[in-house]
């Protein structure tokens, strides 16, 4: 009984000692990264979000900005890895949802002090898609109603003038 207790206590202590590392390896939101930048600086993190805007190729590397719904963070990654990104978020598209594993930099020396993540690997969680736009009929109808009212007012104004 005593041995079992010691064993459980020992295992618990080991887990507790390694807890921060386990947490850092887990998925982290942008807000958590920004608000606790000193804590995560230089550590390996897993960050998940949608690729938005342009994939900006710079030599053998590329910048892609990943938005997790709270903020967007710049991810510096290998050009080949960037090539896997097919869709980036915009008005007409939902970007690829990516899981980035990389080193978080609070003030990256390589990139003029920017807060960024240097990706070691990326995994596409869900592919993006083109977002088709459906005509909002209520807006269209409202445009016509306003147009009629506008014409009536215009005619009234012209008559009063003449």
């Amino acid at each position: 009984m005593t041995k079992a207790f010691i064993l459980i206590f020992f295992c618990g202590a080991v887990c507790f000692a390694h807890l921060p590392a386990v947490c850092l390896a887990g998925q982290i939101s942008s807000t958590e990264l920004i608000n606790n930048a000193r804590e995560y600086d230089g550590k390996s993190v897993v960050y998940v979000g949608e690729a938005v805007g342009d994939v900006m190729v710079r030599g053998d590397f590329a910048w892609v900005n990943i938005n997790d719904g709270e903020n967007a963070i710049g991810v510096w990654l290998n050009k080949e890895l960037a090539g896997e990104i097919q869709f980036t978020g915009s008005y007409h598209a939902k970007g690829d949802r990516l899981e980035i594993t990389g080193v978080f930099q609070r003030n990256c020396i390589q990139h003029g002090g920017d807060m960024d993540i240097h990706a070691q690997s990326i995994r596409k969680i869900s592919p993006g898609r083109v977002v088709g736009e459906e005509l909002d009929t209520s807006k269209r109808n409202f445009v016509f109603i306003l147009l009629v009212v506008l014409c009536l007012v215009f005619v009234f104004v012209r008559r009063r003038k003449s």
């Binding site: 000193r38 938005n67 967007a72 807006k139 506008l150």
Partner: protein
């Protein structure tokens, strides 16, 4: 005895306000066309609805209040202050319809921030916003920077006298050319020439930095409009961090400084008189205040040790400082980093820079360099008077476009506006603290709103209290118009209630 406003006052105010609203409705056609070009049908409808409502209001006002009489001073000032509020309300319609703003108040906050060239934003999911809506955010900055009324003055106002009164009401008490309409047109000419040049430069740079050509030129145009008009909106949620580019930072610093320059100095440059830049009190004061506030910021940043090298500290510190001093609000760090990483001293340096602002007759907000120069010069002369023998004649002179003998009324006017700004910063800080935000955070955000800067330390979010949103709207409006037309509007309402 206070006199009650007459029917003719209301007719004049209504008629000219109506014309300005019609002008706003016509500008909505630009993003509508852009929306159609990019196959954004629903956004195009948003702008059509906005334009129709604005046109309807404008037509009704001009019809009901039709007059051929010119504006007097009081009416001119009220037209300006009311037109800005009306412009905020109608310009917010297409933004609200896009569903990227949580409420109509949020959309109004965005449009006032745009027109007043502040740059604080409550947009949600900005990275998926249509080109049309994004263009509108930047276009209203461009219009507001030149002055909503300047747009109207330069396009369809006939009466010269009334035009000048509205021009002054928009915090532009200096004319570049003798005729106010020619001045307005010159301001537009300068802005459009710079717009074309900067869009080409930034667009080409964007392509070189890996952006798609359409995006690169679109971003180039938007960034110019927001930087030259010392606004601070950007098409993406990360602000300037999106670009990860030193070249973008350098070019936007140049554009921000150009935007903070008095249009009279632009005129001198255009006409070949480059010496005026170095002689002018505004330029000299700006150089001194940039140096001093940057020194404070650097000492503060050094104390905290946030940045790993001096070069990075210079790059980050200088960019935010120039952005704050010119009243632009572009940022290459996240909002929370100001509070978490800059430290109190660096923040105070930045807040001072934001509070001081740029040149008079520019698109910058804040106290302004000429006023600061006048106050400093006056103080210097007063000290001289004490030190020198009583019979010594102390000459109070300064150089602003020409040699000027400083008079007491100029000093008084400069002090009055400076005190008004300080009170406005203070009121916003108190209200921020009332809602539970710490003192320095509240001061930072309040100064940013009232001086039309747009840097945020994280208070301005869609979830912030509605009362604070209203406070910042009023601060942006009063700060941009430099109080006189706002005071006149308040006086008008008091006279309407209490007058005989």
């Amino acid at each position: 005895m206070i006199l009650k406003p007459q029917l003719q006052d209301i007719k004049n105010i209504g008629y000219y306000s109506g014309r300005i609203i019609i002008g706003i409705s016509l500008t909505m056609l630009v993003p509508m066309v852009v929306g159609l070009l990019f196959k954004e049908i629903n956004p195009a409808l948003d702008f059509l609805i906005g334009a129709e409502i604005a046109l309807l209001i404008g037509l009704i006002l001009t019809r009901l209040c039709f007059t051929k009489k010119d504006l007097n001073w009081m009416q001119g000032m009220i037209v300006v202050s009311l037109s800005w509020l009306a412009a905020m309300l109608v310009a917010a319609i297409p933004l609200y319809l896009s569903r990227h703003w949580g409420s109509y108040l949020d959309a109004c906050f965005e449009t006032m921030s745009g027109f007043a060239t502040t740059g604080l934003t409550l947009a949600q999911d900005l990275d998926h916003l249509s080109y049309a809506h994004n263009l509108w955010r930047h276009l209203i900055m461009f219009i507001g920077g030149q002055g909503i009324v300047v747009v109207a003055v330069s396009s369809f106002t006939k009466g010269l006298s009334g035009a000048f009164k509205m021009y002054v009401g928009e915090a532009r008490d200096e004319r570049v050319l003798p005729n106010v309409i020619h001045t307005s047109r010159f301001i537009w000419l300068v802005s459009i020439v710079y717009l074309i040049l900067s869009t080409l430069v930034l667009g080409t740079l964007g392509i070189a930095n890996g952006m798609k050509p359409v995006n690169a030129f679109f971003h180039g145009a938007c960034l110019f409009m927001a930087a030259f008009d010392t606004g601070g909106f950007t098409p993406q949620s990360q602000n300037m961090l999106y670009y990860h580019s030193l070249a973008f930072e350098v070019i936007t610093i140049i554009i921000m400084l150009l935007g903070a320059m008095n249009f009279n100095l632009h005129y001198r440059i255009w006409t070949g008189d480059r010496r005026e830049i170095w002689k002018n009190i505004e330029t000299r004061t700006l150089c001194i205040t940039i140096a001093l506030t940057f020194l404070i910021a650097v000492i503060g940043l050094n104390q905290v040790g946030s940045y790993p090298s001096a070069l990075i500290m210079f790059r980050k510190g200088f960019y935010q400082l120039i952005s704050g001093h010119t009243g632009t609000g572009y940022a290459t760090i996240y909002a929370r980093q100001f509070i978490d990483e800059w430290g109190n001293l660096a923040l105070v340096g930045l807040i001072c820079a934001m509070a001081l602002g740029g040149g008079t007759c520019s698109t910058a907000g804040g106290i302004k360099m000429l006023r600061l120069g006048i106050i400093a010069e006056s103080l210097k002369q007063d000290v001289k008077r004490i030190i020198l023998p009583e019979r010594a004649v102390v000459e109070q002179r300064l150089h602003h476009l020409k040699g000027i003998f400083l008079e007491d009324k100029q000093v008084r006017a400069a002090l009055l506006i400076t005190v008004s700004y300080l009170v406005l910063y203070g009121i916003g800080t108190l209200i921020g603290m009332f809602y539970g935000y710490p003192f320095l955070d509240s001061l930072f955000e309040s100064t940013s709103a009232a001086a039309n800067v747009g840097l945020s330390c994280g208070i301005t979010t869609p979830s912030m209290p509605e009362g604070l949103k209203l406070t910042y709207i009023v601060q942006m409006w009063a700060g941009r118009l430099e109080f006189m037309s706002v005071f006149t509007l308040i006086g008008f309402f008091v006279a309407a209630i209490k007058g005989k």
